[in-house]
């Protein structure tokens, strides 16, 4: 477990992991909103 302390801390989740998950989720939601409301190459491709 020692080599995975960045992930699992000392018996808790690492805040690094939590922050990444929260940021990742926000990114997905914001990106989803953006491509639905803007006529971009990507939304046309989609």
């Amino acid at each position: 477990m020692k080599q995975h302390r960045w992930l699992w801390g000392d018996g808790r989740f690492s805040w690094v992991l939590v922050v990444w998950v929260v940021l990742g989720t926000l990114f997905i939601l914001v990106f989803d909103y953006y491509w639905r409301t803007n006529d971009t190459e990507f939304s046309r491709f989609w």
């Binding site: 808790r12 989740f13 805040w15 998950v21 989720t25 997905i28 939601l29």
Partner: protein, 247 residues
């Protein structure tokens, strides 16, 4: 104790993210419930999704014996509430003729002294139609395929349309005979007319409602000049389509 509280906070945050991502994934490719309230109608209920609901409703009703029935509707309730909205409208003062439906003025055609003003409704338009001017309702007819098979076969804008059912309201007006034709194509015969034959009606009064339909045709004497441009958006009971000057 502190450790446990931190773990609980972390788990809650991860749980919220998981729930958000789950909702996102389950709704994909359509918008999830978190961003839906932020979107306009066209993005909130994309056309493809509405078509899927319509097809599913039709299939379910077909299984029950009548594909044209409205017994089973698989539209999501928020869309259905939006689709069946019925806002008040105020006709402009004066003698003009107003649009019978909300939508896009898509075609204009003249034939045998009659002109056809075709308004195409999208899924996001108000689906309540209104009388274009004062008059007397002389006839309300149901028509089946005959419009595309018979009298309407030369009307290019309906040539490729499937028109399972139409209702035609004939109106005697000071400018001659008007007909308002309600046509459905995608999810069929949901045509309601709110008035009876013999009724005297006012401009802008509610005429009927199309549930999951697509086209309204206003037929009037070809001598009446139009004051709207092809391709413009019209609002039932409010947009003046003609100043209504008598020939």
């Amino acid at each position: 104790m502190k450790r446990r509280r931190v773990l609980l906070a972390q788990l809650s945050l991860l749980g919220l993210c998981a729930a958000a991502l789950l909702q996102f994934g389950m709704s994909f490719p359509y918008p999830g419930p978190l961003i839906r309230p932020l979107l306009g109608p066209r993005e909130r209920w994309p056309e493809q999704q509405v078509r899927e609901w319509a097809v599913r409703s039709r299939e379910e009703n077909a299984r029950r014996g009548n594909p044209e029935s409205t017994d089973a509707l698989h539209f999501r309730s928020d869309f259905w509430a939006y689709f069946t909205r019925d806002p008040e409208r105020t006709p402009p003062p004066g003698p003009g003729i107003v649009a019978p439906a909300d939508g896009l003025f898509r075609f204009h055609d003249k034939s045998d002294g009659v002109q056809f003003v075709v308004v195409a409704l999208s899924f996001w338009d108000v689906h309540v139609q209104r009388f274009p001017c004062d008059g007397l309702v002389t006839k309300i007819e149901d028509q089946g395929d005959s419009f595309t098979d018979g009298e309407g076969e030369n009307l290019i804008y309906l040539a490729e349309k499937v028109c399972p059912v139409q209702k035609v309201v004939t109106l005697q007006t000071e400018w001659g005979e008007f007909k308002i034709r309600l046509i459905t194509s995608i999810s069929a015969t949901r045509l309601k007319v709110f008035v009876a034959e013999g009724a005297r009606v006012k401009k802008g009064q509610r005429l009927g409602q199309i549930l999951a339909g697509s086209t309204v045709v206003l037929e009037m004497p070809s001598s009446i000049p139009l004051s709207i441009e092809l391709g413009s958006r019209v609002v039932a009971g409010e947009t003046v389509v003609s100043g209504g000057k008598s020939p």
